[in-house]
Symmetry: C3
Subunit: 107 residues, 3 copies
């Protein structure tokens, strides 16, 4: 893939050799990158939701990752299973909640 | 910025006009996309900060989302209100802290 | 998507060759930006992992940011140090775990 870019750039460079003043390839790439980066960043956002359930396990919806867990009975001991599920560790856990986030696009 | 890209595109267009068979626009586009995507992704990062307050509520700054909450008195029961505020649920909560994240750019 | 971009570029190239004054480069740039931005957005994802340690401190791996902490002894009081380390605040803390996330690329 990089090879194809290299070939393209080489072709353009040869073409540019005919008129070097008008051929700013480095500047072009960084201009394009900045332009796209700016467009991407205006659209990308962190999107979060909550999932709670009775008992000691709460699953994040598909596509979301747990970033933290909250537990009933004031319990602060938890772990995350399979990158998807909050597990509260205290005995007789009445409820468990997962904070779940993903990267989303603002259209 | 746009002018430099315009010059490049004009150069490519002229080149392609001379020999349409060698004008690899699909390959060009995907190469360009990958190249720019890679550059953009190196700039995008997860940026987090903390917000704490007395009492049972702590707000994340504008643009940030709470990813988890910490509560005084060893309390581990909390919820998030309006996608913006950590609420610690234990009685007589002395302090509440929010962990707050967003997507940011490394320049 | 790539085909559409290719067609677009071809159309613009032909159009521009015939009448350079009407060459819609602004539109081209925004099309290109959108196309590349869309490709980038399909690759970006939130990637999380866990780090735990004995005692009251747990460090996220390099490149990851803590989004929440879990503490032994049911403790829910914690803070984050240096944007890297979970610190559980209860006395005689037996273990500490950090939930750690970053922005990653799906290849």
């Amino acid at each position: 893939m990089k090879m194809r870019v290299a070939v393209l750039l080489a072709v353009i460079a040869m073409f540019c050799a005919a008129d070097a003043q008008k051929c700013p390839l480095d500047g072009l790439m960084s201009s394009l990158t900045e332009s796209v980066a700016s467009a991407v960043l205006q659209k990308v956002t962190l999107s979060c939701t909550d999932a709670s359930a009775r008992g000691s396990l709460a699953n994040c919806p598909a596509g979301y990752k747990p970033t933290g867990c909250s537990c009933g009975n004031a319990c602060g001991s938890w772990d995350i299973r399979n990158d998807q599920t909050c597990h509260c560790q205290c005995a007789n856990q009445d409820w468990t909640a997962a904070r779940c986030c993903k990267i989303a696009v603002n259209y």
